[in-house]
Structure formats: structure tokens, C-alpha cells
């Protein structure tokens, strides 16, 4: 009897508590920078695509939502001819980001991707590519290693020494 009344009173007191609801469109939660949301493709500092179309992201993807086709430009630089992510399948696990050797594919703190039609959930390369570097500002794959594709000459990379002249006599 008295416990019942006490219950009523304590539930009534909840009317004066702080609300736990977040009024979503007006009031938003803080999303950490490493939040796994909408996937993007980033560019390097020179504005070239970072993606080298190695297929590692597509291989790592547990739901097979990434599809791409590699091709090369005149200087031998690999890039994806098309790059397609079906976000209606994506589970935002971030394995693609971990697999990527060039930091090209990244997950961003954005989840507002609602669409009225299913085909709208399929993002093509032009939808995925952004102008900046995303989370990793300084890294540039072609400056660090790899073949010369017109970005730098032989021996000018970050971890490279100038090439040795094998026909010279000097040490």
C-alpha cells in the first residue's frame, strides 16, 4: 500500500528530471573524428587521386559492397576507372580503411545518408571523391615510394637516396 504510493511519488518526481532525449535535427551529438560513417575517397596534396586501384578494400570488404576497375594513365599511374560503393550493403566496419595502403579510402563522421530510392544508395566515384586529404594530411604515396609516374623523378622520394651511377668510379 505505502510502497505503491511511494512508487507513484518517485515516478512523479521524474517529471522534474533532465530529459535524456537529444532533439536530433536541431541538437546533435558530438561524433569523434574516427567515427565510422560515410566512406570517401581522398586526394593527395597535389590534387591527384590517392587510390591506386589495388583491390585490397574490395577484398577486405566482408559484404562485398565495393566494386572497382583498375586502369592506368599515360605515365603508368594506376587509378580506378570506376569505383562504386553500395551503401545499402555497407556495414561501416572500416576494414576497407584498414586495408588501404595509400590512405585513399576513409570513413567520416557522417551518417545522414537517407534516400527515397534504393539506387540512390549506390555511390559512384564522383560521389565518393573529395578534394582534401581527409584524416591523414601529410601522407602522399607517390612521394614516399613506388614507380615514377610523373609526380617525381628517380631518387627524389621521401625515403629515397639519389640513384647510384653504376658506371662512375667515385664511391
Amino acid at each position: 500500500m505505502f510502497t505503491t504510493i511511494r512508487t507513484l511519488w518517485r515516478v512523479f518526481l521524474h517529471a522534474f528530471r533532465r530529459r535524456v532525449t537529444i532533439q536530433y535535427p536541431q541538437q546533435r551529438r558530438y561524433l569523434p573524428p574516427r567515427w565510422r560513417g560515410r566512406i570517401i575517397l581522398s586526394r593527395d596534396k597535389c590534387g591527384g587521386e590517392r587510390c591506386v586501384a589495388c583491390y585490397l578494400c574490395a577484398a577486405a570488404c566482408p559484404v562485398d559492397c565495393i566494386a572497382l576497375q583498375a586502369t592506368q594513365d599515360a605515365q603508368g599511374r594506376r587509378y580506378p576507372k570506376f569505383f562504386r560503393i553500395n551503401f545499402s550493403r555497407c556495414i561501416f566496419c572500416g576494414y576497407c580503411e584498414e586495408a588501404c595502403p595509400t590512405y585513399a579510402i576513409q570513413l567520416t563522421p557522417d551518417y545522414e545518408m537517407s534516400e527515397y530510392h534504393r539506387p540512390g544508395m549506390v555511390y559512384e566515384k564522383e560521389d565518393l571523391l573529395i578534394d582534401g586529404q581527409g584524416k591523414y594530411k601529410d601522407y602522399d604515396f607517390y612521394q614516399e615510394a613506388g614507380v615514377a609516374v610523373g609526380v617525381k623523378d628517380k631518387g627524389q622520394g621521401g625515403n629515397e637516396r639519389p640513384p647510384v651511377d653504376v658506371k662512375g668510379l667515385m664511391p
Partner: protein, 320 residues
């Protein structure tokens, strides 16, 4: 002639007001429950979320009104109407202000008791005609619960009748001019309120529709506007019980400063809020607990209250 028109205006106005209040309570209940649970409730559609009422009505009106092929069609269609008719008719005797009642008849209280018992038929017929075991179980429970709570619901009011010396609700309110009956009849108030909870099948006593045991009880097979009728009937019932508690125990329209109707509405909605608070806090008892509470505690209490009130009135006023 003008008297007839006045009555008609009163009836139509009361019906419109009741349906509005009942549908607003859908919103009100959700907002209040949210308030007691640290949430906001529906607050998006229109100012304060009031447009939710319109949205709900439009939605439920456009739903498919499906009658299962195995149901007893005629009875199935009558059942939801009975509850609305019974509860709304009972409102005819409630005096909202001095002289402001559809029919302030001299057996008003008995009329209310009769009409509120009628809603048992609705539940019974709904459960029977659905031809579904869960619906039948729910309506069996409802019948058992409402019939047994009906007994002391009437008993608990007899103390009020003895003190006021009349079955006319207007007289009962007038008799509370100096002291509201909630003080001398506090036992009667408690018993009547609990019986009212059981009568409206609200949450501590919602065994007839216990979702986790019986799907939805007697209205399992109902959809669309027929389902909504049961809900409207429930909300009208809540308003009815609240306004009767106000009329019989809380001085009806009486109060300082504000006009009588305002006092009546204020008290009624405070009680409706109490109904919702109870819904938000108490768990549902087992069926045998419900029955033993009714027959072993509430009935003796109301009988004792009746005896004591009768004895005191007889001793002080000499039987009149």
C-alpha cells in the same frame, strides 16, 4: 421549443467535446508518460506536438478495416460501438456547472452505474465474436474483473448517497458546499478510484488486454477505426471516472475565483493525469491477486464504510 434546441446544442456540444478530449488524451497520455520517463514524447507535429492528434486520426481512418473471415460479423461490428455508446451516455448525468448537464435526473448515480456496466457487454461481445482464443481469454478476464469490481464500485458510492441524501448528481455536488466528501468519505474515494481503474481496464488492471500474455486481449482481431473505437471508449471511460470522482468526492464545480466549468475541468484533468501517472508506475497484478484484492479487501472495506457512514448519519441526524 427553445428548450429542445438548448438540449440539442448541449448534447451535440458534449459529444463533440468528449470526442475531442478522448482523442487529445492519446497525445496527452504519451506526453505525460514521457514526462514521467525523462523523455519528451511526441513534440514534432505542430505546436507542442498537438498536430499528432490529427495525424493519428488521419492514419487510423485510412487504415484497412479488416474483419476476419472466421469472426461473427454482426456482433464483431456492434461490439466497439457499444463501449462508446455506453460510456458517452453515462456522461449525460454529469453536472459540469450549476444547471449545466444534459439530464440531471433524480437517479443519476444509478444511471451512471448501469451505463458503466454496459461496457462489459462490449468487451464480452468483442472477445466472443473474434473467435480467437486470446480474445476470448481476454474478454473472460474482463468480464470477471468488471463484474466483481462493479459490486463494490456501487457500494463505495452509497456512503456519498447517504450523506447527500440524494441520487441526483447536482444535489450531491451542492451537498459538498462546506466540506468535500473526499474528507468524510476518504475510504469510499479510495475504493471507488481503484474500482474505476479496474472498470476502465487501465494499466494496473489491464489484464483483459495484457499484451505480453494475450497479444492484445479482446481487441486482438480489431483494426482500423474499430480498434480506435475501443481506444476512444477507454479514454472516454477514464474521463468519465475522473469526472465522477470530481463530482462525488471533490466538490464538482466548486472552487474560488474561477468559473465553475473551469474548476470542473481543472479537477477532472488533474485526475486524468493521476490515471496516467498510475499507468506509468505500477505493474500489473496476477489475476488471482486482482480477484482476492477485490473480494477480500475492497468489498469488506466498502461495506464497513457503508455501515459506519450509515451509523454516524443515523446517530447525528436521527434518521431524518
Amino acid at each position: 421549443m427553445s428548450e429542445v434546441i438548448g438540449h440539442l446544442v448541449m448534447i451535440v456540444g458534449l459529444l463533440a467535446a468528449l470526442l475531442t478530449v478522448a482523442s487529445m488524451l492519446i497525445w496527452g497520455e504519451r506526453r505525460l508518460l514521457a514526462l514521467f520517463q525523462d523523455r519528451y514524447g511526441p513534440n514534432r507535429v505542430g505546436p507542442l506536438g498537438l498536430g499528432q492528434v490529427v495525424a493519428d486520426i488521419v492514419k487510423i481512418l485510412s487504415k484497412e478495416d479488416w474483419i476476419p473471415p472466421f469472426a461473427d460479423r454482426a456482433v464483431f461490428e456492434i461490439a466497439p460501438a457499444v463501449i462508446l455508446i455506453a460510456t458517452m451516455t453515462a456522461f449525460a448525468v454529469v453536472p459540469f456547472a450549476p444547471g449545466l448537464a444534459v439530464a440531471d435526473i433524480n437517479v443519476g448515480l444509478l444511471f451512471f452505474l448501469a451505463m458503466s456496466s454496459m461496457s462489459v457487454y462490449s468487451v464480452a461481445l468483442a472477445g466472443w465474436s473474434s473467435n480467437n482464443k486470446y480474445a476470448l481469454l481476454g474478454s473472460m478476464r474482463a468480464i470477471g474483473q468488471m463484474v466483481s469490481y462493479e459490486v463494490f464500485m456501487g457500494m463505495s458510492l452509497m456512503g456519498v448517497v447517504i450523506q447527500a441524501g440524494s441520487f441526483r448528481l447536482g444535489d450531491i455536488v451542492a451537498a459538498q458546499e462546506h466540506l468535500w466528501f473526499c474528507v468524510p468519505q476518504c475510504l469510499g474515494l479510495a475504493v471507488f478510484f481503484i474500482a474505476g481503474l479496474a472498470e476502465t481496464r487501465r494499466i494496473p488492471y489491464d489484464l483483459p488486454e495484457a499484451e505480453n500474455e494475450l497479444v492484445a486481449g479482446y481487441h486482438t482481431e480489431y483494426s482500423g477505426m474499430k480498434f480506435a473505437s475501443f481506444f476512444l471508449g477507454e479514454y472516454v471511460g477514464v474521463t468519465l471516472i475522473s469526472s465522477l470522482v470530481v463530482t462525488l468526492f471533490l466538490g464538482g464545480w466548486m472552487g474560488p475565483l474561477l468559473p465553475p466549468v473551469a474548476w470542473f475541468l481543472l479537477k477532472t484533468f488533474a485526475l486524468v493525469a493521476l490515471f496516467i501517472l498510475i499507468r506509468g508506475s505500477l505493474p500489473r497484478p496476477r489475476y488471482d491477486q486482482l480477484m482476492s484484492l477485490g473480494w477480500k479487501i475492497m468489498l469488506p472495506l466498502s461495506l464497513a464504510n457503508l455501515l459506519a457512514t450509515g451509523a454516524i448519519v443515523l446517530a447525528t441526524e436521527g434518521g431524518r
